[in-house]
């Protein structure tokens, strides 16, 4: 069972954060097929957010085909993302480490590297959405 | 709602019950002995008027200054105090406490309408108030029976006790029930008007006390048309004689033999029916009391008395209780109107 957390200052709406955290957990293999997601009551009891927010997030995940709701029982993972992308993880990680080495040799500070990554990431992700 | 009413009223109810029980014990113990003493005094079976009067008078004299008088005064004081205390401590805080503590916002948002809330509270506490006063009066009345019986037989010069007179009327019979209801309703009303406990209590006390003082003087004497009676002035009953130095002005006061009656006015009048104002007799100016009294006797004065006879005691009791109950009802209706119309906060 995973636990959600919310970053109130990230500028990302709570329901999107929940979705992202589920996808992240799926990718990392923390959630596998058949696992139950925390009940709406448990989530709001911990995070003190509106239940509709959680319902919205779970509905969208269901729409994407990642989870399925069993009435009276709960919401369960129907598909994982792990197998698809986990294999690519290793190669991508090595590439990333090589790039980081390059950036450091070019003289960039940690904060500059982080800023460069984030802005490029955001700009690129916006294009693909 | 009954449970909540009881739970919030618990302390006051226990205090009242404790007081009643204590009073009951004191009155029972004392009353039994008083009753025995009365039975032994021979007043019950006596026939001859003169000796009856003497026996009764003697009996009453032994009571004066004794422990029985203490018990009597305590009982009278308590019955006087109880309706006012009920108004102060049961009536006024009923609503003001909820408003001051803000708990009305809890009490009036349960599944009970305010009208029902008030009905149960007023009903339970109002009935408790009337019961407390009624029981006290009942117990004290039982205790004092020998005293009243003796007073009925004793003459005008004895230390007779008179239930019809203002001093004791309000603590006898059923009148305390009416007062208790009225005191409670008055406290409740001031609570609704003023909405703060201490000022409401102060107002209740002031108005209630004022009414208790003014009522017997201004209103009760006129509830039934007083009787008039003219009796010859018996010099044996002369209680006072006032003269001015010049001797041209004299007023004679004398008691009349009307056991148990409430004397409203008592004037010495002359043969023509005018109030006797003098002049003072020679004997009264110069001589001793005996001669003075004798000289007054020769004036053949009479007493003009307006009074309420003893036989009207219960009539007055019913009237008084009915009036105060009606006032209590009117005040309570007003409080209901105010509370249900939400013009409180």
């Amino acid at each position: 069972m995973i636990e959600f957390h919310l970053d109130g200052r990230s500028g990302v709406s709570p329901y999107l954060q929940l979705i992202q955290q589920v996808r992240q957990a799926l990718r990392l293999g923390l959630l596998i097929q058949g696992d139950q997601l925390p009940t709406v009551k448990d989530v709001v009891g911990r995070l003190a957010i509106n239940p509709n927010t959680v319902l919205k997030a779970y509905r969208e995940l269901e729409y994407e085909g990642l989870v399925g709701a069993r009435p009276g029982v709960g919401t369960f993972v129907t598909r994982t993302l792990a197998d698809e992308s986990l294999a690519a993880h290793g190669e991508l990680r090595t590439e990333l480490e090589r790039w980081l080495g390059k950036a450091r040799r070019a003289g960039l500070e940690e904060e500059s590297i982080e800023a460069l990554i984030l802005t490029t990431f955001r700009a690129t992700m916006k294009e693909t959405i | 709602m009954m449970w909540l009413t009881w739970r919030q009223f618990r302390t006051q109810a226990i205090a009242a019950a404790t007081g009643l029980v204590l009073m009951a014990i004191v009155l029972a113990v004392s009353g039994v002995r008083l009753s025995d003493q009365f039975n032994a005094s021979g007043i019950i079976g006596c026939q001859a008027h003169g000796s009856c009067e003497q026996l009764a008078s003697n009996f009453l004299s032994t009571l004066k200054g004794s422990g029985y008088q203490v018990v009597f005064l305590i009982a009278v004081g308590l019955i006087y105090a109880v309706p006012g205390l009920i108004g102060l401590f049961w009536g006024a805080p009923l609503i003001t406490r909820e408003i001051e503590a803000g708990t009305f916002r809890l009490a009036w948002t349960q599944s009970v309408t305010r009208t029902r809330w008030l009905t149960i509270k007023v009903g339970v506490i109002g009935l408790a108030a009337m019961a407390t006063a009624g029981l006290l009066s009942l117990m004290a009345g039982w205790w004092a029976n020998p005293v009243y019986a003796a007073s009925a037989k004793a003459g005008p010069r004895s230390t007779a006790v008179n239930r019809l007179e203002p001093a004791l009327f309000g603590v006898s019979g059923i009148a305390p029930i009416g007062y208790a209801a009225f005191g409670f309703a008055l406290g409740l009303t001031f609570g609704v008007l003023i909405r703060r406990t201490l000022p409401a209590m102060a107002a209740t006390l002031a108005v209630f006390a004022g009414i208790q003082v003014a009522w017997p003087q201004l209103i009760r004497p006129h509830l039934l048309t007083p009787l008039r009676s003219i009796v010859p002035l018996d010099i044996a009953n002369i209680t006072g004689l006032m003269m001015n130095p010049g001797g041209d002005h004299m007023v004679v006061t004398a008691s009349v033999n009307k056991p148990g009656a409430w004397i409203l006015t008592n004037q010495s009048i002359d043969a023509a029916g005018h109030p006797f104002t003098g002049p003072a007799t020679q004997a009264c100016l110069n001589g001793g009391i005996q001669a003075c009294n004798a000289s007054v006797g020769r004036l053949h004065l009479r007493q003009l008395v307006t009074f309420q006879p003893a036989s009207r005691f219960w009539t007055f009791q019913w009237y008084e209780t009915a009036i105060f109950l009606a006032l209590a009802l009117a005040l309570t209706w007003y409080c209901f109107w105010r509370v249900s119309r939400r013009r409180l906060t």
Binding site: L47, P51 | W3, A101, W108, T109, Q110, S111, V112
Partner: protein, 297 residues
């Protein structure tokens, strides 16, 4: 879609003082509605009118389709937690639960007991000896265990420390999730409500300035930054909530249904808190008004 609270031109005056002026609202069911505004804006007045503790001076208000406190049945369908969570200081926790049980036909004994147990209250303790957070939880339990359809709360967390505040809101949200409650909760701290509310009512100086679904409101408001502009030249369909200018730059908060195509403007979303603040300062800047604003993060 049913409406839990409906008011039309609702006004309440206390003598010469205005409590509420001309409020027209329609709060849908199934929402957690937040009522925000500065102190003295009229939030408590509105809530008291909604639960029948006050009568309107003019206008109407209907809660769950009926006049507030019109009958025991209507009272049973609402729950109310008043400001400073009043409880009977001399009564114990258990007494309060008994009060709830005896005065509410719909009382859920099991729910009450489990909540008290979860909060960790000693049933024998007098309510006057409880901490502020515990009293608030007791008051919330009383309101929730009567199984209402519509729960109204008047600044229940304003005087609580952050932990007590969080625990209160957790408990409240759990109850909403479990029972499908509609909620109307007032606060002068917007941050509290941002997490829990999906409907917003902004009340300033006895008037409703803004009301609607949070999603709709956030979607229809836009924060624009761009070069110094001429206010008169703006598109007429733009409702300007606030505007500030430097010698080079203009920053506008507008409300509009249309997308902004002009490339001169940088368009940003606004957070709920900033939205409320903008409306509050708009009201504050209206001349001849004197009020206290409480803005806290």
């Amino acid at each position: 879609m049913t409406v839990v609270l409906e008011s039309r031109a609702l006004s309440k005056r206390y003598g010469r003082r205005r409590g509420l002026t001309d409020c027209t609202l329609s709060v849908p069911a199934g929402r957690v509605a937040g009522l925000v505004g500065p102190n003295g804006a009229g939030k408590t007045t509105l809530l008291h009118l909604a639960v029948g503790l006050l009568e309107p001076t003019s206008g109407t208000i209907d809660v769950l389709g009926a006049r507030p406190a019109a009958s025991p049945e209507q009272l049973a369908r609402i729950g109310f937690v008043a400001q400073d969570t009043p409880t009977y200081a001399g009564l114990t926790v258990a007494d309060h639960l008994k009060l709830g049980a005896r005065m509410n036909p719909g009382w859920d004994v099991g729910l009450a007991r489990s909540r008290i147990g979860a909060i960790g209250l000693d049933p024998r303790q007098r309510a006057g000896k409880l901490s502020g957070g515990q009293r608030a939880q007791l008051a919330l339990t009383l309101a929730i265990a009567k199984r209402p359809e519509f729960l109204l709360l008047d600044e229940p967390v304003s005087s609580l420390d952050p932990l007590a505040r969080r625990e209160f809101l957790q408990g409240l949200m759990e109850a909403v999730a479990e029972q499908g409650l509609s909620v109307l909760i007032s606060s002068h701290l917007v941050a509290d409500l941002e997490r829990v509310c999906d409907y917003l009512i902004v009340l300033i100086d006895s008037r409703v300035q803004l009301s609607g679904d949070v999603d709709d409101l956030l979607a229809s408001h836009r924060l624009l930054t761009g070069p110094l502009c001429d206010m008169a030249a703006l598109p007429p369909r733009w409702q300007v909530v606030s505007a500030s200018h430097t010698d080079r730059q203009s920053t506008l908060l507008i409300r509009t249904a249309d997308p902004v195509h002009d490339p001169a403007w940088t368009v940003e979303q606004i957070s709920m808190e900033d939205l409320v603040l903008a409306y509050m300062s708009k009201a504050a800047n209206t001349p001849a008004r004197d009020r206290t604003l409480e803005v806290q993060r």
